[in-house]
Structure formats: structure tokens, C-alpha cells
Subunit: 339 residues, 2 copies
């Protein structure tokens, strides 16, 4: 199959390498020349697991990148989704789009733009990233963890089984989720990242380079995460969507069966190589607050659900970053039509 991968960051490079490993065609796009150029200068070669893979096309020209592909994988920070949707829609043919991941409301946001252009492409999103990975160099990627499974849903929802079947013929990790409300509410990163970040702000801001999850968690932070997660489950329930809590998720994805949430995070060996960001300019806030907690917050408001913990985290981040994330973040509404 022929894929377009949008975003040549950690996730995009890992995905490209895995697709090439299995013999598929990959067009790799990134809008930043400084990301693309080192790969082109390296003759389109990226290295994974000490093996070189030649990417078929590496470009910062979106139109060229999209030509002839069957699947477009969007592996960018979700704050890029909105602008990207307006560009992709101009050049798209009949490709299926998969936001990997959509965070909360990514596919819906894309769909809204596509509707304006009368485009009916299948738009899917995953609940989370498949690979835990890190670029060691501009052309070298390390994958140090793979989730046991990753949920995927589409608009229209009937198309998910076919998409999952296609993808599983290559990377057999995807499972069908009923609709994009399920993927949007299954946003575990939003529960873990900002909380672990803010209660360790000093170390991150001082570039202390500690283990983000295992050293960053503590018993009272785990309890705070439980409160935040409880609010997410309340919202999901109000929209008649059944999703699992962080606690169950850690068993589901990583096989942790400890009694306490704290232990499930503290002793999760899949987290052992994840170093904390060394600056406050991190996606753990700049993506997870505006593209995850903020849309969840507005979805709660529409159903008159109190989410004081969510509000606290958003307001705390807004204060530290001197921007009102409630204004700059993603808002989605009328989501029930996609359920």
C-alpha cells in the first residue's frame, strides 16, 4: 500500500520505518524544512534498529506528498490539526485519513472542514500513539515500547472495520472502536501528562532529566489523577459513551495488575525509558491542555457536569503559560451525530 505520513517527528519517523520494514511505499512530509532537509541530505535514508530504510519521497510540499497514496497518517501535534485540515482538503483525492492520535475531537474538527469543501473522505483517529519512540538524530529513530493495542474509529463509523483490517495486515495492533466519541473520550494522555508535569514543574523547568512517569508519580498525585479521570468518565457517560479508566487502561495496554494506580504507573517497565521534558515548552502541556482537557471541559459544560479538577489543571497551566487555554483551545460541539 502507499502511505503519506504527515509529520516527521518521533511518531512519524517510527511509523515510516515500520511501514518500510514491511515493504510499503511511504511519502514523508513535514512543513518544517529543518526537519525534512537532514533526511533528504541523507538520501532519504532513516535508520531504525541499525537498519537503513529508504523513504520513497521526502518533502515539505504537501500536494506532492499526497499524490497517489491510499492512506494519509497525520502524526503531528494536535494543535496543528486545524491548519493542516485546511491544507490537506485542497489537495486530497480519495485517500483515507487517520489522525494518529486525534486527542479529543481531532477527527471531528477535520470533518467539519471537509464538509465545508463537500469532501466525503473517511476520517479516522486513534485513541493514542502506537509507539513509544524517540528520535536519536534527525534520521535515526528508537522504538522502546509498543502498545498491546490501539483503538481506532472513523467518520463515518461504519468504515472502521475496513480501515482496521487494512492496517492490521501491516501492523496488527489496531482494534475497532465504535465511533470517534470513544476515541476522543479515551484520552489517557490528558489524564497523565499535565498532572505529572505540573506537580514536577520545578524539575522540568530546571532540566533535571528525571524519569517522567516512574519518578514523577507519587501517591497523592495518583489520587489527583483518579479525581481527574473520574470527571472524564462522568462526561463520557453523559454522552452515553463507555470508556475505561486510567486504572483499567494500564492493565489493558501494559498488563499492569497492581492494586493501586500509583503502583501501576510507578512500576510500569514500559515507562522506564521515558525521560521528562527539559523545558516547559512541552507537548505535555501545550498539546494536552488545549487539545484534550479544554474540549473535554466544554463538553462537560454542555451537559452541566462539574469538572473542578479539570478546571484547576487548565487554569493552573493558563497561569503558568500566561495564556488563556480556555480561549485558545479546541472546542467541539454537536458531537452526538458521530456516535
Amino acid at each position: 500500500m502507499k502511505f503519506t505520513i504527515i509529520g516527521a517527528g518521533n511518531g512519524g519517523l517510527a511509523f515510516s520505518a515500520k511501514l518500510k520494514e514491511r515493504g510499503h511505499t511511504v511519502n514523508l512530509y513535514d512543513k518544517f524544512k529543518e526537519v525534512i532537509d537532514p533526511i533528504i541530505l541523507n538520501n532519504n535514508i532513516i535508520t531504525y534498529n541499525n537498519i537503513d530504510y529508504i523513504i520513497d519521497l521526502v518533502t515539505d510540499n504537501l500536494q506532492v506528498a499526497l499524490e497517489g497514496s491510499e492512506y494519509i497518517f497525520i502524526i503531528t501535534p494536535s494543535f496543528a490539526h486545524k491548519d493542516l485540515s485546511k491544507e490537506v482538503v485542497k489537495y486530497i483525492d480519495s485517500q483515507t485519513i487517520v489522525l494518529h492520535p486525534g486527542r479529543t475531537g481531532g477527527a471531528i474538527q477535520f470533518k467539519r472542514v471537509f464538509e465545508l469543501y463537500d469532501k466525503n473522505n473517511i476520517i479516522g483517529e486513534t485513541e493514542t500513539l502506537l509507539f513509544a519512540c524517540r528520535k536519536e538524530a534527525p534520521t535515526e529513530i528508537t522504538i522502546y515500547g509498543t502498545k498491546k493495542s490501539v483503538g481506532l474509529a472513523t467518520i463515518p463509523k461504519e468504515k472502521a472495520p475496513q480501515v482496521v483490517k487494512d492496517l492490521n495486515s501491516i501492523l496488527p495492533y489496531f482494534v475497532v472502536y465504535n465511533n470517534v466519541l470513544v476515541t476522543s473520550f479515551s484520552n489517557i494522555g490528558a489524564m497523565l501528562h499535565p498532572t505529572l508535569f505540573l506537580f514536577n514543574l520545578s524539575r522540568i523547568d530546571n532540566a533535571d532529566s528525571y524519569n517522567f512517569y516512574q519518578e514523577g508519580i507519587s501517591p497523592s498525585i495518583a489520587k489527583f489523577i483518579e479525581k481527574l479521570d473520574y470527571e472524564r468518565l462522568l462526561i463520557s457517560k453523559a454522552y452515553d459513551i463507555d470508556v475505561i479508566g486510567v486504572y483499567e487502561w494500564l492493565e489493558d495496554k501494559y498488563g499492569r495488575d497492581d492494586t493501586e494506580l500509583y503502583d501501576r504507573i510507578r512500576y510500569n517497565t514500559e515507562y522506564q525509558d521515558i525521560v521528562a521534558p527539559e523545558s516547559i515548552n512541552s507537548r505535555y502541556i501545550l498539546e494536552d491542555i488545549p487539545m484534550s482537557l479544554v474540549p473535554l471541559y466544554y463538553l462537560a459544560r454542555r451537559k452541566n457536569i462539574n469538572v473542578p479538577t479539570m478546571e484547576l489543571v487548565i487554569n493552573l497551566a493558563s497561569s503558568i503559560y500566561n495564556q488563556n487555554f480556555l480561549e485558545t483551545g479546541r472546542r467541539i460541539c454537536n458531537i452526538q451525530q458521530y456516535s
Copy 2:
């Protein structure tokens, strides 16, 4: 002179030793037998700077402790003030009371109780603790820092010069503050402690034993403290009280003249021995939130001043500690009569 010291914790022991060093009489009281008994078993001897001092009376009987003293120094966590005021008032004669420190509204809270009993004792409070000190053992105290000066005010305010004169004949560090609104608004601990605590929650909860100020501060935390402090100054101004900011205070008390607040905290050598609490059961929250930020918050509300940063810190602590500090904390009103 004869003193009653109420509270045989760090501050109480340091004060007792210093008074004995200068040849004064000290009755030392604590309500907890487990604090008092080791001193009694040690024949009333406490050790400071490798010198033994015999305390004249060590007791958990408040009435006995108060007998015949001229000054009562209350050196307890401020959350004990309310209950203590109701006990002290029963046995008091003509002593002068000094809350060391009062946090925000301590002297006023005491005064309200004394009024109910028609008692007109002078009630003073200091803006902060004089000594940075730590008990090394139940009968051994180390003083590792002394502030350059500590403000003291009284109810009625006219009495402060005499009290300061008395105390300065023994420990020449006190300066007259106009009234107890000045001491109450000069609450720097409330600006520093909870903030530095919460943004390092993981390390404290995990008993990581780092340097509370020097390692706990970071550039973005310093900016957050500036926002919080700005709100404190707004409130003070609304009550026509002039107090200095944290930034100036660090110069005033410790001689720091760095350009940035961050540096004034990071490089303050007087902070170099202050180890972070090793549990979340710490006065940095359990005292500073309900007895400092909460009364400041209510004083702001009465003047229709927005204090979003203060509210954030209070709500965050309330969430982590599963108690509503806005309900359990100190509320004072009609404070202008003491100005």
C-alpha cells in the same frame, strides 16, 4: 524578665535557648506530652550550640506555665491559635501576648476572643519567625539563620514601641510595624511555601529530601510567585496598608540584590540548609493555606478584588488534601478598626 513560651517545637526551643543564654526566666509549655516529657526526663535541659540550658519550668499545664510571666510568646502552628486563645484567656493575668508569628490575622483572632472575656491584654504579632532552626533531637536545637529584622505590631497599636523596646533589650531584631494589618499583610511565607511545595509535590510526597528553596525554585515558579505576590499587594493597598513585595523583602531580610526574583531565592545562602518536608503533612500547606492564603482571599473578596492566582493555589491544595480550605480556614473581617 520572665517569659512563657507556648510551643516546644523548633521555634519555641530556639527562643527558649536564646532567652536562657541571656539570663531570663523561661516557662516552656506544650500541650503534647510526647514533646514535653523528653525535656523533663532530661532535667529540663536543652542544648543549643553545644551549651546546656536549664529551662525554669517545663510543663503541659497551661495555667502553671502562665503564672507570673510578663510576656507570653506563642510559637505554635497558627492553626492552633484559635483553640489556644480560648484556653489562654482563662488563666491570663496582665501579660503581654506575642504571636510569633501571627500569619494573617492571628492577633485579630486572639483579640476577638479576649474581647468576649473583657480582657484588655496587649496582643502582638510578628510578621515572620526570627530564627530558621530545627530540632536535632527532642532536647537539642540548631539555629542556622537569623533574620536581619522582624516586624512586630500590637493591638492596641500604640503599645508596639514599648514591646519592641523590651524585646530588643534581649534580642535586638524587632522593629515596630504600625499595626497588625501590616504584619498580617507582610506574610511572605504564604507567597513562598505553598507554591514551592505544590510544584514539587512529587518529590515531597516521595520523601526525596531536596533543598526546599534553592532546588525547589525555577524561573517559571518565580514568575508564578510574582503573580501571587502582586495579588497580596493589591489587597494590602485596598486596605491602605503599605507592605513590600517578596522581591524587596529578600533584599531587606537577607541582603539579596539580584535582578531576578528567581536568583534571589536560588542563591540565598540563608536557605541552603532548609531541607524540604518529607511528607505532604506539612505546615507549608496545612498552616499557610488555611491561616494565610484563605484569610487573604476573604479580605480580597470584601473589597471585590480578583485574586485568581490565590484561588488557584487554595483550590489545588483543597483538592490534594481532600478538604475545603475555604471552609476550614481563618476568616477575619472588620479589620480596619485595628489600622
